[in-house]
């Protein structure tokens, strides 16, 4: 059974079919790419999958459970975490606090303990700190853990967003243009990190990306979206050599 099973997902904004009958099936452990020209509706799909928008039709099944009607907050609990195209960090919190905030569900103490720093507070905070550092290490961010997140360079901000999403312990991670604004070196490094997340932590990944080198380099499967509809779907190599995809994606003149 597929880990994420999306059927006939549609949404309209004031008569415009932003996404129409979108279906997707991702197996556990897959590294899956969602590509398409600008304005094709890729981010809208992410917003639908994470409950930011409610679909006008269709269903989202995660691990055998229907989560279509769940709120954003519940969906994260169900096991979907995401990053954003326009980075959304907690900019006035330090790097490590961004990650610790995302660990809120895994570590527990009461508000009373929070207000008086008593009981489980000290030990749980210590555990949280340890776990957060561990996660930051994966992204080589542990050396900048006490810096304000808004003071990080752009590439590291993108990485921190992934780290924060990972800290919520998701089954599937949605990355919205993770390489946007990165130079080739940073992109190469990012590709390694993404593969590492999948291989070492067993997290399934669905990503939106324009960088074809990254897509062809790490994605095993692709879905191509154009004007809100699926244009092609399948094995990365096959999809990328599909003449229709090339035409839609790169334009007629190329």
């Amino acid at each position: 059974m597929a880990l994420l099973d999306v059927k006939d997902l549609s949404i309209t904004f004031g008569g415009l079919h932003a996404v129409e009958e979108f279906s997707l099936s991702i197996e556990k452990g897959q590294l899956y790419g969602l590509i398409g020209p600008n304005g094709a509706g890729k981010t809208t799909v992410f917003n639908l999958l994470t409950g930011v928008y409610k679909p006008t039709q269709g269903s989202i099944i995660l691990d055998g459970r229907d989560i279509t009607a769940h709120s954003t907050e519940e969906i994260n609990k169900d096991g979907i975490a995401r990053t954003f195209q326009n980075i959304r960090l907690f900019h006035k919190l330090s790097v490590i606090d961004n990650v610790k905030t995302a660990l809120h569900r895994e570590f527990e103490y009461s508000t009373f303990e929070a207000m008086f720093h008593c009981g489980r507070y000290a030990s749980v905070e210590r555990e949280m700190e340890k776990k957060a550092i561990e996660i930051l290490k994966v992204f080589s961010l542990d050396t900048v853990s006490s810096i304000l997140s808004s003071n990080l360079p752009y590439g590291q901000q993108r990485k921190l967003e992934i780290a924060r999403a990972m800290a919520t312990g998701p089954k599937i991670l949605l990355l919205d243009e993770p390489a946007a604004g990165m130079n080739p070196n940073e992109t190469a490094e990012l590709m390694e990190t993404i593969s590492l997340i999948r291989d070492r932590f067993g997290i399934t990944i669905l990503l939106i990306e324009h960088d074809m080198k990254l897509v062809s380099g790490i994605c095993e499967h692709l879905t191509v979206l154009n004007f809100g509809k699926i244009l092609a779907e399948g094995d990365t190599k096959e999809v990328l050599s599909d003449p229709e995809v090339i035409r839609a994606y790169l334009g007629d003149d190329e």
Partner: protein, 294 residues
């Protein structure tokens, strides 16, 4: 008949709220900020008229004209100096807190210049009004003038917004500032013009308010200002006819509850209405919904 008298009084107060609310709603709709000091512009207008009319003996009409001009200058200056630098601030609270600072500034400046004691304002309207139904319904001159002026302002504003190039620019900026800028609209100029109109209206409202309620203190404008904002929200913020309706409804409710329920609880009732409206229909009577982009 006493009910009718009360109702007309409510209409009069409502018309004053409406004029203030028109200024509020335009500034909120176009500059996207709550000008907390708007009510204090009214107070400044009152003191200017008081100064020129009662102290220097100028005819009321001339004093009002001076007040309109000075309040317009005050509005434009405030926007330029205090609000514009913060237009793109990281926190939306920044400009609101600054507006509160401006309100504080104006009140305390007036306190310093004119003192805390109440000045009695002599009405700018000398007409004694109408006596209907064999004298059973007395309508004061100020009441009639207030209602007429507010309707006139509504009419002129509607024509201005829909028929002139500047008005169309205002609509464009209120809908999408970025797109308006790309279309070649001078956003700064448009916002300045909005503040100018709003502040001029505040001066007119001041003349009417102080004529109807002739005791003048540095805090005269604060409460009517806040209530006019409630009226603007009630009518649907950003909507010109909405501000008019909201103002009238609020004025009538306030006077009715002052007369028939409790004068002490009238304000609580007015504010209660704000809470209920925002819960039931947050966009007000004539407002539109805006969705946040992700």
């Amino acid at each position: 008949m006493s009910f009718l008298t009360t109702f007309v009084n409510g209409l009069s107060l409502g018309s004053i709220y409406a004029i203030i609310a028109l200024g509020y709603t335009m500034v909120y709709g176009i500059a996207k900020m709550l000008n907390f000091a708007h009510g204090d512009f009214i107070m400044v207008g009152c003191y200017i008229i008081f100064l020129f009319s009662s102290n220097l003996g100028l005819p009321p009409f001339i004093s009002i004209l001076i007040a309109v001009v000075l309040c317009t200058v005050l509005g434009i200056t405030t926007e330029r100096v205090a609000y514009r630098p913060l237009r793109n601030a990281a926190s939306p609270l920044a400009v609101l807190i600054t507006a509160i600072g401006v309100s504080y500034f104006l009140e305390n400046l007036a306190l310093l210049i004119f003192g805390a004691d109440t000045k009695s304002f002599s009405s700018v309207i000398t007409w004694s009004g109408l006596s209907l139904f064999n004298g059973e319904l007395q309508i004061q001159g100020i009441t009639i003038v207030t209602i007429a002026v507010s309707l006139l302002i509504l009419l002129v504003l509607q024509l201005f917004v829909h028929k002139t190039k500047e008005g169309q620019a205002m609509l464009a900026v209120s809908q999408d500032r970025g797109a308006a800028m790309l279309m070649g609209i001078d956003v700064n100029k448009t916002i300045t013009l909005t503040f100018a109109i709003g502040s001029a209206l505040a001066a007119v409202a001041g003349a009417l308010l102080a004529s109807a309620y002739p005791s003048l203190t540095p805090y005269t404008g604060a409460m009517p200002g806040i209530k006019a904002f409630v009226a603007a929200v009630l009518g649907g913020i950003g909507s010109i006819p909405g501000a008019m309706i909201g103002g009238l409804v609020l004025g009538i409710i306030e006077i009715l509850s002052r007369t028939y329920i409790s004068s002490q609880l009238a304000d609580a009732i007015v504010f209660g209405i704000l809470v209920v409206v925002l819960l039931v229909k947050p966009t007000g009577i004539l407002g539109k919904k805006i969705q946040e982009k992700v």
